[in-house]
Structure formats: structure tokens, C-alpha cells
Amino acid sequence: MNSILSIRDLGIRLGGRQILHGVSAEIQEGEFIGIFGPNGAGKTTLLRALLGLCPISCGELLVFGKPPGKTKHALGYMPQHPGCPDGTGLSARSLVSAVLRGERWGIPWISSSASGEVSRALELSGASSYADRPFSLLSGGEKRRVMLAQSLIEKPRLLVLDEPLAGLDPKNQMLLVERIAQIRKETGATVLFISHDVNPLLGVMDRVLYMAGGGASLGAVDEVITGPVLSALYGMEVDVIRAANRVFIVNSESNVTETACHA
């Protein structure tokens, strides 16, 4: 097995604040990793670091055996927010086309072979049927699929998805997760999937990277999502309750569940 992502004792400081410290993880080719944790746990910072957008203050971070930023095309990234300005008629297809080899010099001309690549990415993400409609008119779920197509356009070996489920209703969450699992099966890409909720990814992900309090813990779902491990990460008493095939993370000190309950 090839190690796609290798993190050793990683520390990141931003604006005088220690965001991450002592994070270690080895991720193998083809794995589906769910990344969870409360707000401010450094999930997005970790993703930005492996994209080369955020400097590392100590430790080591290797993507495909190289420092971040040196493996541009092997990485597909889906940010939290769409980059399309509101009120423009730009179609989904145009948005995906702009990303295809967008770092080249010259004018943004799309050759017919390039436009074939765009169609394939849209098809893979399941966005073909509304690809020519203005992006700003699409529903939340449709927009996410277009953004997914943007991240797929360069045929990445590593897919980095930053909260693709945020703001989606349960049905659309399920459909998107299924689609991403399908893509991973078809392309063999490794998937890093940030989510706030564990449940939609159960049965799809291979391992879990749980982040809290600046640290992280990688392991099988059953190993990491347990009371003792999460209590150590949060720095407070946490219980994990399994019921009806779902996982609930409950703060023992107050009456707040970390995992939202949904149908």
C-alpha cells in the first residue's frame, strides 16, 4: 500500500494562535477518511496546509511523498463556499471549465477536447442535467454537485472535500455521499471528507480522523468514536451512544449532542 498522505507531529500556528499540535496520521491510497470535530478544531486549517495554502510551523506533512504545493494536479479540492458571484448568469459548465488547467497563461479558450473533459466531470458528479443553467439559480444540492465536478476536473488522486454536506437536507446529504462513494470506486481516488455529522458517512468511510482541541486521532470508526478517545480529545467528559444504527456523541456535563439527530 502506498502512503498518500503522511503527517508526523504536525504543528500549525496562525496569527499567534496554536491551531494544531502533535498531529500524526498515515493515509493509504484509496482510503475514504471522514474528518470530524467541533468548530475551530483545525479541520479546514489541516486541509489548507495540505493544499500548500497555510505554512507549517513544525513537524512534517507529505502529500504523495512531497511537501504540499508540489503536487498540484493530483489534488482535487472542494471549498466550503462556491466561487460564483451572485446575480450573474454564468452556467455550471462555465464554472467547471474555468478550473480546467486554469493556471495556464493565455486566454480562457476551451478546446473541444477540454469541453469533453468538462462534460465527463459533470457527468461523474451527476450534474449533467443542469450543467447549462445559471449556477446562481441552482438548489443547494445541485450547487454542491457542480462544485464536486470542479474538484474532479483534473482527475485527482486525492479528493479533499471541505464540509460538502453543510446546509443540505438529509436526503441530499445521502445522495451526495453515495455519489462520492461511487466516484471513489470508479476512479480509485483517496477521499478526505470533512463533516460535522458522523452518521451520513457510516458504512462509506474506512477510517476516521477525529479532531478536537488542536489534536487529532486516526483510527477505525469503532476505535475512535468512543467515550474515552473523544473525552481525551475534547478535554471533557463525552459519552458515545449507539442506537438504531446511529452514533450520538453526548457531552456528559451538559445536555448537548454533538451529532444532530435527523431522520
Partner: protein, 274 residues
């Protein structure tokens, strides 16, 4: 009707106006599309107002107002670009610099007596007063700007729509936005010769904004943006000749009518889509 147009075109100053107006309209339309997708409309507006200081300052130093405007808006554009995304999209920061710049312009105006007549042509445009040498300068600047855009427009489009992804592929966002702001400064300066500093919005953002509302792709937007810009400038100048009303009025009126028409049309089209 055609005879009338021919009569009008017999005048040198009308032909000069059409030429300078066309160049400014084309550059404004192309640059404007990037202004729309980068959401830096207020920065574009501010660059023009800052140019007022340059124009009045140039008069004090005995330079032409085109030179003064160009220098000061390019400097301001560079600074906005270097300061990064946060600052040149901050309405407060831009508003502060903009009003201070206009304040300094007012001071220059007071120091240089006898300039008040020219101030009005800087503010509201004086397309019929464009000289041959100004046209040459306009053309050279526009060609340089469009050539520069041709070199990096692919990167600019990518970085405008997906900045994080662009940065992760090794594009320097600061360098790109600085280069763009300088080109924007040039476009704004050229457009202000046609419609004046206060009305620059109409040529640099208007046509592109209207086109971006209903066009689905990049090239269609650029095409319609140029079409709208050129059409308004031509019709505006010809109507100004016929009516004796200022061309700036006619051009802004044309753009405004097209804007209303475009909004209605896009709303109708959007309703069909749903």
C-alpha cells in the same frame, strides 16, 4: 437619416470622439467583466475618483490631465492590489481613501486658479475635446492593456472564481490582483476621458454588468459587453450631435435603458428556467 449621419461624420471632432469612445468602450467592456466576477465595482469607482486628484495635480505641475490621472490611478491600483483581497474589497477603507483623494483634488483646484472650467470636463467628460495626440495615447494604452489581459486572463478567470484552488496550483493571487488593478486603472482613466470621472461606472461596469446577467459563458459575456459598450457610445455621440445635449448624458441614458431592458429580460428568462 443617413445623410444626417454623413454630415455629422464630416467633422473631425466627431470622428475623434467616436474613435476614442470606441477604444475606451472596448477596454472598459472587457476589463469590466472581470470587475463583475471579482466583485470589485466600488474599487473601480474609487480609482476614477482618485484620478481626479491626479488630473488637478497635473494642472499644477503643467502636465496633461490624462498623464496625471494615469499615474495616480495606477499607483492607487497597485496599492489596492498589493494590500490584498481584504482591503480592496473593504468599502470603509476604499471610501476613506476615495474621499481624502477628492479632498486633495479640491485643494489643488483652489491652488490652481482658473482651472474651474476644466474641472467640469474632468468630472463629466469632454469627448468632443479629444485631441489627435490623446487618441494615439488612448490607443497605445488600450492595446497594451488588452495584450496584458490576453496573457493572463485565463489565470485571472480561474483565480476570480476559485481563489483557493488557484493559489494551491501555484498562482500568486497578490501578483494577479495587482496586475489586474493596474489594467483597471488604465481602463478607468480612458473611460473618464469619454464620460468623465463621475460617470466612469457607466462604461467600465455597466455593459459588462448587463451582459453578465444573461450570458452563460465567458466569451458570450465579453462579446455582448463589447457590443453594449460600443453601441451606447456610438448612439450616444450621434444623438449628442443631433440634440446638442452632452454625450455623457446620452451614453449614461443608453446604458441605463439597456440595464432596465436586460433586467426585465433576464427576469423573464429566469422565470422560464424554473
Amino acid at each position: 437619416m443617413l445623410d444626417k449621419v454623413n454630415d455629422i461624420l464630416a467633422y473631425d471632432f466627431v470622428r475623434n470622439a467616436l474613435l476614442a469612445g470606441s477604444i475606451a468602450a472596448i477596454l472598459g467592456a472587457v476589463v469590466g467583466y472581470f470587475v463583475i466576477i471579482r466583485n470589485v465595482g466600488f474599487a473601480a469607482h474609487a480609482l476614477a475618483h482618485i484620478g481626479f486628484t491626479g488630473a488637478t495635480g497635473a494642472a499644477l505641475l503643467g502636465l496633461s490631465s490624462l498623464q496625471g490621472m494615469l499615474v495616480i490611478s495606477c499607483v492607487a491600483g497597485t496599492m489596492m492590489g498589493i494590500s490584498g483581497n481584504k482591503l480592496h474589497r473593504s468599502e470603509l477603507a476604499i471610501g476613506m481613501v476615495l474621499s481624502f483623494a477628492l479632498g486633495i483634488g479640491t485643494l489643488f483646484l483652489a491652488l490652481y486658479k482658473g482651472f474651474v472650467g476644466q474641472a467640469s470636463s474632468i468630472l463629466f467628460g469632454n469627448i468632443f475635446g479629444v485631441s489627435q495626440s490623446q487618441i494615439v495615447a488612448t490607443m497605445v494604452l488600450a492595446i497594451l492593456s488588452l495584450a496584458a489581459l490576453a496573457i493572463f486572463s485565463r489565470r485571472l478567470l480561474f483565480a476570480s472564481l476559485q481563489p483557493d484552488l488557484a493559489e494551491s496550483r501555484g498562482i500568486s493571487l497578490t501578483a494577479l490582483s495587482t496586475a489586474f488593478m493596474v489594467i483597471l486603472a488604465i481602463a478607468v482613466t480612458l473611460a473618464s476621458q469619454v464620460v468623465g470621472i463621475l460617470l466612469v461606472f457607466t462604461l467600465v461596469i455597466g455593459p459588462a454588468g448587463i451582459a453578465a446577467r444573461f450570458c452563460r459563458g465567458f466569451w458570450g459575456s465579453i462579446f455582448f459587453s463589447i457590443l453594449i459598450g460600443l453601441g451606447s457610445v456610438w448612439v450616444g455621440i450621434l444623438l449628442a450631435c443631433v440634440s446638442n445635449w452632452p454625450p455623457s448624458f446620452w451614453i449614461t441614458a443608453m446604458i441605463f435603458v439597456l440595464y432596465l431592458f436586460g433586467e426585465t429580460l433576464s427576469r423573464y428568462v429566469l422565470r422560464l428556467e424554473r
